[in-house]
Amino acid sequence: MNRTLLLAAVLAIAPLGARAQGTDPNLGRMLASNCANCHGTNGASVGGMPSLAGKPRAALLQMLREYRDGKRPATIMHQLAKGYTDAQLEAVSTYLSAQKPN
């Protein structure tokens, strides 16, 4: 199927509300897959990096905002946290807090 046809098909069948403003319905999952390289799949670390899976949403979000604002000591998280919007930090915190720890 070429792209135009695909798009036409999508417009025809997709419930429009789900795609308002083009927001990814899997936003949290997609963002957490950025973190998995270091913190493990769905935030469950195999060791050497902090595990994020199942930590309270508010705690995750606070740490991420502190990294972003340079208020929490870090080797790397201050650089990574600046790459995401506040809404994205919220979405990834929500997703990770709902994951099963190891």
């Binding site: 999508v10 899997n26 950025n34 998995a36 493990g40």
Partner: protein, 430 residues
């Protein structure tokens, strides 16, 4: 049917159905995606292909059949392989089984794909398997080395003597042995091609690792770096500081020194200005997307790389085929790294799940990169970046103000660097 029978004879235990009607293992329980939606074939089980395989199974809730093909039965990581050359890790420590991918329902095929017929959506194999169909194809082939640009290297004999060790495996160990047998006051010469090439900081990390070994075992030995680039291409000040402070007087770095030919018998590298003789030569030739990408017609950028749509990793040359990793024509400021190939794998997996279910892929993908480099056996430096999709430019763009490099080399990051490897290997493989 013939193909299927041949395959079953050759392949033994692997379960297989026709491309659209496979019988699934019991995990497809999510109500919204219950029916099998088709088969994805993945050529190349490295950082890109393995990640795509696992995440396609996870994110399709088992409704997409995934076949992962590689010549090699086990995974040997290129990241961390310089530590084997430096002597602080063994090849076994950077080698991982792919077997746990079977628990996700990934079918592992050890063979080489010799041809892709994209009109018929079929691949041909070299040894074990009969022709096989697919609904979508992922090509994650890595790089091939352009020895045709170095006349003296253009024979199997020359290539067995002057090593690249830029794919981890036997060459990694062989290069280590060459360095071990070097005379005590010998010279190790490494050449670096013009960017872009696989793993921008890799050559400079290798210089550190060779220096780390020589400092202990052969302190009179020297290293010459012939860099075709006008400066160190990644983490320059951090590498220079390590060379200056840890390996003082051992490293002769020469920028703007593109190697044009190699005299293998005379152990000499030739630039436009100079002939540089060494006891061990380590030549990194220019690189391009590997042969299978070329024969499939995927190379459409500078005759070397594969351009993709960054919303899906789908080739801009051949619809229905997604290209991952080092073989892609990189987005601006996006390195050719294992970490990034993993990210490509996830972007492609998410998009393919949507496309195969008749939906539009996510229009706002985000990827991140980090490359940790070991400047000794314990101390590490990193470079990081975050890339968000820009709809106007139709590409991924590094977010201004994000990312950066280590404040200084440290043992703390040494621990994180090794932990990164453990976590990304398990993110791909378990």
């Amino acid at each position: 049917m013939t193909n299927r029978r041949k395959f079953l004879q050759a392949g033994g235990a692997v379960t297989i159905g026709s491309a659209v009607s496979s019988i699934l293992p019991g995990c497809a329980s999510t109500p919204e995606i219950r029916k099998p939606v088709g088969r994805v074939m993945i050529i190349g089980a490295g950082y890109g292909g393995q990640t795509a395989a696992k995440y396609l199974r996870l994110w399709s809730a088992g409704s997409i059949e995934v076949m992962l093909v590689d010549r090699e039965p086990t995974f040997i990581s290129c990241p961390m392989s310089n530590l084997v050359i430096g002597g602080s890790r063994t090849l076994a420590e950077i080698t991982r089984s792919r077997n746990r991918l079977k628990e996700h329902g990934v079918q592992l095929l050890t063979d080489e794909v010799t041809a892709v017929d994209h009109a018929r959506k079929m691949v041909k194999f070299k040894d074990r398997y009969a022709d096989m169909g697919y609904d979508r194809l992922i090509v994650s082939p890595g790089v091939d080395l352009m020895y045709d640009t170095l006349p003296g290297m253009n024979s199997a004999d020359a290539q067995s003597q002057v090593l690249h060790a830029w794919r981890a495996g036997p060459q990694t160990v062989a290069l280590r042995k060459q360095i071990e047998s070097m005379p005590d006051d010998g010279t190790f010469v490494i050449s670096i091609p013009l960017a872009p090439y696989r793993c921008p900081p890799g050559p400079y990390e290798r210089v550190c690792q060779v220096a780390h070994y020589l400092k202990q075992a052969k302190p009179k030995a020297r290293i010459v770096v012939l860099d075709a680039n006008e400066n160190i291409t990644s983490k320059g000040p951090l590498f220079r500081a390590a060379w200056e402070q840890l390996y003082k007087g051992m490293i002769d770095y020469r920028p703007n020194s593109e190697v044009k030919d190699v005299d293998v018998r005379g152990k000499t590298l030739k630039t436009d200005f100079d002939n540089v003789k060494g006891d061990v030569l380590n030549v990194l030739p220019s690189m391009r997307a590997a042969d299978i990408a070329r024969s499939t017609g995927l190379i459409n950028a500078n005759n070397r790389w594969c351009s993709v749509d960054w919303l899906s990793m789908e080739s801009t040359a051949v619809p229905g085929i997604h290209v991952l990793g080092d073989a892609t024509m990189s987005a601006p400021a996006m390195p050719k790294s294992g970490h990034m190939a993993n990210q490509h794998g996830k972007l492609a997996a998410a998009a393919i799940v949507e496309i195969m279910n008749g939906r539009q892929p996510n229009q706002e993908p985000v990827l991140a990169n980090t490359c940790y480099s070991f400047v000794s056996d314990k101390e590490v430096i990193h470079v990081s970046s975050v890339h968000q999709y820009d709809a106007k430019q139709k590409t991924l763009v590094a977010v201004p103000g994000s990312g950066g490099v280590s404040a200084q080399r440290s043992e703390i990051e040494g621990a994180y660097g090794w932990a990164w490897a453990q976590n990304i290997w398990s993110d791909m493989l378990s």
